[in-house]
Symmetry: D2
Subunit: 330 residues, 4 copies
């Protein structure tokens, strides 16, 4: 009997930006991520509450794309088990060598039906914070209260898909995600789903977007601890002339949000807090019908969608993702 492999959590998002300097300024000085390492053409960052080597990477490129979205497994052997499982589903699976991404072990990459480049890995280094930035608290790597927004940890990604229903089913069956809350259309077909492998309401949201191209990426979210921290983030974004929408509170997920655009890449970030945890083992997915969406999308806050709903950035093609940053391409 073969144990099912399991995803433990969202690992990192690898971004390509047309303006690396400006993107780095944004993620480091405004959002408050810490630079862990610069190697080859990539900058590795993590939030002040994180131990893994990186949860965001930045690399300069001719177009601002999402190179890949990476997930950490629960056990070392799950990487290989996922590879087998994906192949048995007819997917094409590509190996990524140890240390191809700094601090990281062997990984696999593949393209789910949503068209994004996904990566799965287990091994990741946990370098300590530099002495001058280290917290006095043994359970915090970096000092509490990072500069800028002071994001604490990566929270989730939000993806567009040409056919959300199909992607949702695939993520459930092949990767083990659970549908926590979802939107249906008048014909009761799934139009969007908030899915998780953790007690978070969502590690990943998937949504049918008008004219979505495979791989369209809506946003990555970082967590702050309190509602007020989202308001403070809004002040900081405004002082730095960052395009933003919010703050507000979603009905779906009950999360507080602030959407902002990385001015170097136009990739979108959600500063996120609140929400709730799902610890119930028999959670019934919450169904939102068209007539419920007025409360569901925006419980309070900006009612016009602005760039929050439709703005997106594309994904790299798998072939690009697999070769970029390697010796051959440098």
């Amino acid at each position: 009997m073969v144990r099912q492999p399991e995803i433990a959590k969202l690992g990192h998002v690898a971004l390509v930006t047309t303006d690396l300097d400006r993107s780095l300024w944004f993620w480091e000085s405004v959002v408050g991520l810490e630079v862990v390492e610069r190697a080859d053409d990539t900058i590795y960052l993590r939030a002040c509450g994180e131990r893994d080597h990186h949860t965001l990477t930045l690399r300069a490129g001719p177009a601002s794309v999402v190179d890949h979205i990476a997930w950490r497994t629960k056990r070392p052997e799950d990487v290989e088990l996922f590879a087998q499982q994906l192949k048995s589903h007819g997917e094409s699976v590509h190996a990524v060598e140890r240390d191809r991404e700094r601090g990281q072990g062997k990984a696999i990459r593949f393209v789910p039906p949503s068209g994004h480049v996904f990566e799965i890995y287990y091994d990741i280094e946990k370098p300590p914070a530099p002495i001058d930035k280290r917290s006095r608290l043994l359970n915090s790597h970096y000092r509490l209260n990072a500069p800028g927004v002071g994001a604490r940890r990566i929270d989730h990604v939000n993806l567009h898909a040409p056919q959300a229903a199909e992607s949702v089913r695939w993520f459930e069956e092949v990767l083990g995600f659970k549908n926590r809350e979802y939107i249906v259309d008048d014909a009761d077909a799934i139009m969007a789903s908030w899915m998780s492998v953790t007690p978070l309401v969502h590690d990943m949201a998937v949504r049918s977007a008008p004219d979505a191209q495979p791989g369209d990426f809506n946003h990555v979210a970082y967590w702050v601890d309190n509602w007020q921290d989202v308001l403070r983030a809004a002040d900081i974004m405004m002082e730095n002339s960052i395009d933003m929408l919010g703050p507000g509170r979603h009905g779906i997920t009950q999360g507080m949000f602030l959407y902002v655009l990385d001015p170097g890449s136009q990739h979108k970030l959600e500063v996120f807090s609140g929400s709730y945890l799902i610890l119930d083992p028999d959670w019934e997915p919450i169904k939102w019908r068209p007539q419920d969406l007025d409360l569901g999308i925006i419980w309070w806050g900006p009612k016009q969608p602005g760039f929050a709903r439709d703005h997106h950035t594309p994904s790299a093609r798998l072939s690009e993702s697999l070769t970029a940053g390697t010796a051959a391409t440098r």
Copy 2:
């Protein structure tokens, strides 16, 4: 040498509502004001942090109007001094007898150029909170954390005026208000002003509104202590299906806001926090030009004006205000 009379603070706002039961439910159970007394056809309310007998009154009427806006003077003799000063400016001044409004001493009413009915008084009773609602803190009448939003104190009023510039000048010259922040048009004419007699940025805002009728009333504001309290108010308003706009933060005043409509009367309330105090004796009024307003009106929050900007309720005519609630009219 005659000393100038001075206004100490915004005293109260007297509202007439077409649905008294619903308005009372809103102000008492949702906003969290305390009913101090019911007498004749009027309900007297105050916030949990207030000692004066009332800062809001509700009375049923055939139309939802603002009966009057009342200001407390610094000294008892200021009421008479203001009466003289108003007459010397050619204004018509009307006496209101002691206890015509419960708990209140002699007052005067008059109509400034903005067309609202203003009242000026000094004497006001300070009844203690009932035993079962009394705070253990000697400096707080009511228990901290009133039900609902738990507003702490009245903060300011916002008035429309056919010609803001004229009204602003009049409020400066005759009533001693100071211009703290203001908006000009391209010809440098004052279009709006945030004015105060206290260190608050505004006890009263006056604004030229398109097609404003004399006496048009934009809103009354109550204060809460923290930014988060405004967010909590938003949740409470949503659960109670109250029409609202916000939360957000103004540039002008730096105040956090949530605009809501009393469902019984359509009078508008702003739940307000943040902002700053002006203790400088030589404060230079802050001028906002048309090109500054994008940041000035809404620093962050809902960018569409919704009902926040234009929705208003009318004022009673002075003659109605002077006779309403008296024996003759009951």
Copy 3:
């Protein structure tokens, strides 16, 4: 190959109180829990963010004791699997019939080495909130902003044990808890552990207390969403003359705390927020040595332990727990 049974989460805590009226007033009106049902001599309560039938029960008794601490499993069959596993460890396991506790399916009770009465169950009803208290949000049973403190969900329990090290090992081996943070003495022996089956830092803390008797219970914790909510809780507790210690912030768990005593029973409640989530699959337990405890126990806040550290209430004996509230004893 037999799958390991797994605990999904802390289910409920069953309290016996010598003053039921006063305890009910405290948990319902001050803490803000909702009464779901009264049946026989027991009152069933849950927090406004919860769907399970109850997370706290109150019953009158001759002494204030903890009747039992209950855990929900991940799958229905885990109850029986745990029973077998416990028996194979030489533990005495007692069946509790369906609906012996209202809304609940079949359960087992047993006494771990710490001396507390533990219960394990899976089936639990999820009654909807009554219409007049129901949230407009589909993913929230009750309206947001319950009265009083407005606790959102049960969070954890804190237990004393004569020998914490032994209990910690047993909870790891037999029940599958993971050690997340722990305190050692100068000889490197475990003196306390914060343990969880969820990504919470702790669902349960176990601590060697001086002169601890088997079954000594330190506190149950309920969660609020923001740091400020803990401060608001402090105001509410003070106005209601509740004995309390805090607010403050622990180093261990990074959680914000306020400790209060149920005035009817002297059982202790922690109002809890902040802390962090452990999503890493390879979390290394954080070791706190004696010299680290000055920061670890109280990062900031009241430095004297007061009743937070030593105050405790006893557990019922298993035989009492098994017969109380049954027909025979009514």
Copy 4:
């Protein structure tokens, strides 16, 4: 008829420190004040919400003393009027030349019965913030969210006095302060008073301290906007190993507090928020008797006084204050 001179607000506190580098690091990097100017041996600082040239000055000296505490008048002529009034009360008044303190006009210094060196002035420059630190908001000099604690403005000073009752009477009669809240002993004699010339509950507190020497200084307070900002300040202080007591909430003033020691000078700072405004012209001072103090001093928070109550630093002698920093002494 001579108009009474009036104090508008607390102007600044001039501190002497035995470790200027460490004090500067504390006030600039930890508290978040901005350095406006360095001239001669003095560093001039202000908070991000302030326009006056300075509200705190630092100067190196052989002992950590408070050089003087300065108050701004309402009108230019009030400085001379106060000089006359002080002389008529038999006080010795000393002139301080324009620009002796940078950016400041003519001032007077004198020693009230409490033994502190007081300064009174009106003229003060209002230099704009440097371009790279300037807020996009026209009504804020510096960007919102200064580094570190991000204090917004100076709030009050707290002074010891050998005989508080005498000092309180003198501050009322000669300087026009109003007694807002006060403590009496069993014989109804004033032991402490919270006094203000503004609607703040206190611009200055005066307290009889055991064995107080004339001029003993308890603390200077800076304001932050929200309760949560005080908690955030606590994290920042702890990460920087600053001695502190709190956070907590006073009953008297209802203010949230965090007391910390400047590690360079041992001068004490209170990070302060909450409290309430007194806009009532007929405010009755709140009397706290010995039996009320358990709630009055600490409503919640650390019950042990620690360094908050008794720690103090001395004042410079007037002769030192008048000559220090002048050419003769450089």
